[in-house]
Symmetry: C2
Subunit: 328 residues, 2 copies
């Protein structure tokens, strides 16, 4: 199995490290597995003997001692003859690009896709899945929601007998960090946001997180993948956390609750700040994510884990291992 990677930011580089450290294990599932190409906006590397050890030391692909083709990622996808594309470019929720074009090209070329990029799934979930089904390939996206939490795999592998009625939880790490700081340290929203930016938890333009857009994107993917909807981001009723005051957090605290940004998928899709009792298992803090599944048999299961960071590659490695093997 030959793989290519598009995107060499934090997730892409973390993935390369994990591929290097897990190579023996991966080869047990996919004999002959190797990464043969990496693309960024700089250009791409394509080499049947790409050296993972050297690549994982590179902070950008031009650091790698090999020929850099100054051409777009689409050229790599079409020229590589790979079996799987790792899509790790940044999420764009407006039109899903450039990830959407990468994924469509890969699927048309008969590749499986493992993505950490939400954009294409938010914009075109059904279209991508139908295209993949026609081409007989799989699109795996565990890393797009709740970081390392294996939510989709849990539902499809471990709850085959259960009907999922509702999915809700904390799906955005940045807002959970901010709300946790406000709750435990009695700071204002502005101070908590400033600190989150300083620590690299919030982006310079944090509006995607604090306005609930990121959580809404994840909710759209959950609704489509778990509840068989054809939801779009416009279907989500959304309120962010920028109007949550120190006073409101204090009142919640006195009532034995915390204010959390809860995304919920049932008949309707909502993202909004809600009071959650401190003793509720969903009430996790810091950058943790937590997802509750309400089902007919198991009733209520909750899964908690790191919502972002290098742990996310756990989801991508497991997605890779779950692909049907194609031999050497």
């Amino acid at each position: 199995m030959k793989a290519i990677l598009v995107g060499f930011g934090f997730i892409g580089r973390s993935l390369v490290k994990a591929l290097a450290s897990k190579l023996e294990l991966i080869k047990r599932f996919h004999p002959g597995f190797k990464l043969i190409g990496v693309a960024t906006r700089q250009g791409y590397l394509l080499d049947d003997n790409l050296d993972l050890a050297a690549l994982k030391e590179a902070s950008k692909i031009s650091d790698y001692p090999g020929r850099l083709h100054e051409a777009p990622a689409l050229e790599l996808i079409e020229a590589s003859g790979a079996d799987v594309l790792f899509e790790a470019t940044p999420t764009n929720v407006v039109d899903g690009q450039p990830g959407l074009a990468h994924m469509e090209a890969a699927i048309r070329a008969g590749m499986h896709v493992v993505t950490s990029n939400k954009g294409p799934l938010v914009v075109a979930y059904r279209r991508l899945m139908e295209l993949a089904a026609r081409r007989g390939v799989e699109v795996k996206f565990e890393a797009t929601v709740a970081g390392a939490v294996p939510l989709f795999s849990l539902v499809s592998s471990s709850l085959k007998g259960d009907e999922v009625k509702r999915v809700y939880g904390i799906l955005n790490s940045t807002t959970n960090y901010i709300l946790s700081r406000m709750h435990f340290d009695n700071v204002s929203f502005e101070a908590a946001l400033r600190e989150a930016k300083e620590r690299g938890i919030a982006e310079r333009d944090p509006s995607n997180d604090i306005e609930g857009i990121d959580a809404a994107c994840k909710l759209v993917i959950i609704a489509n993948a778990i509840m068989n909807r054809d939801a779009k981001i416009q279907d989500v009723e959304r309120t962010g956390i920028s109007k949550v005051t120190r006073e409101a957090v204090g009142l919640a605290r006195k009532a034995g609750c915390a204010i959390k940004l809860i995304a919920s998928a049932s008949e309707v899709l909502t993202v909004r700040p809600r009071l959650v009792p401190l003793n509720h298992p969903l009430c996790v803090h810091g950058t943790l994510n937590a997802v509750c599944l309400e089902t007919d048999l198991a009733k209520r299961l909750i899964i908690i884990g790191p919502g972002a960071g290098e742990e996310t590659v756990s989801a991508m490695i497991n997605d890779l291992l779950s692909l049907p093997s194609r031999g050497g």
Copy 2:
């Protein structure tokens, strides 16, 4: 696929209800699925046209309008020609019987086994798994640990790329109920235990739960199944909760903690009361169970759910659906 059930207590009867309600779904995985026999200490029913609708109304099998064979379950197992045995007799951790004999007979007869009974796995995990491997059948036991929480399925299906370093958590509902009552309502151990008995959460002889034996059994299964050990119950360092005083619980509360009976499998296997910060995601209350998996990639995942009750049949149904299909 033909199935038989041994044990018609709470779990057995709940399973029959779930089989009835999920029959269409089950047949999609296992065409021609039917339950053809049920055994208890009273005797057994064996009927190729067993009526699930009538059976689920029965509180004991002699209520069912059919011929009751006054003979042991082993006779049903050997005479039935079934493809799968549901083993739902009570756990016996001394010698695993009668469940162990049932499971061995079923495996020798070429049946898969889906069990909610911990005893045989605690006493003879390796032997049973080797016997099953030789016969080409599977032994599934999701229901034995943490009720509806799909722990084993999560590890084997969703974390194939992760190395599990440590597993720990709250594995016994009765003690968690008692400790939660002591924590929130400031009652004594004796008062909380009395109430748990009245509510049917603790058994009349509660020593298996309160001395940590039940949690230790589950830990042995975790160590063997997830960490590839050959552990026995004697390998678990075990302290129960009967010496946890109201004063100790009060001091923990003041320190922002709760006392929880934590089972932990790493290099060593321990069950003992520990202080857990109230904000820790493992700190769940009432009859909930919570399991933390520490792995190399995902770092720390926690899964929470009902530790007992009819929800447990979610695990048995999923085990059934995970068996390889044998057609009609």
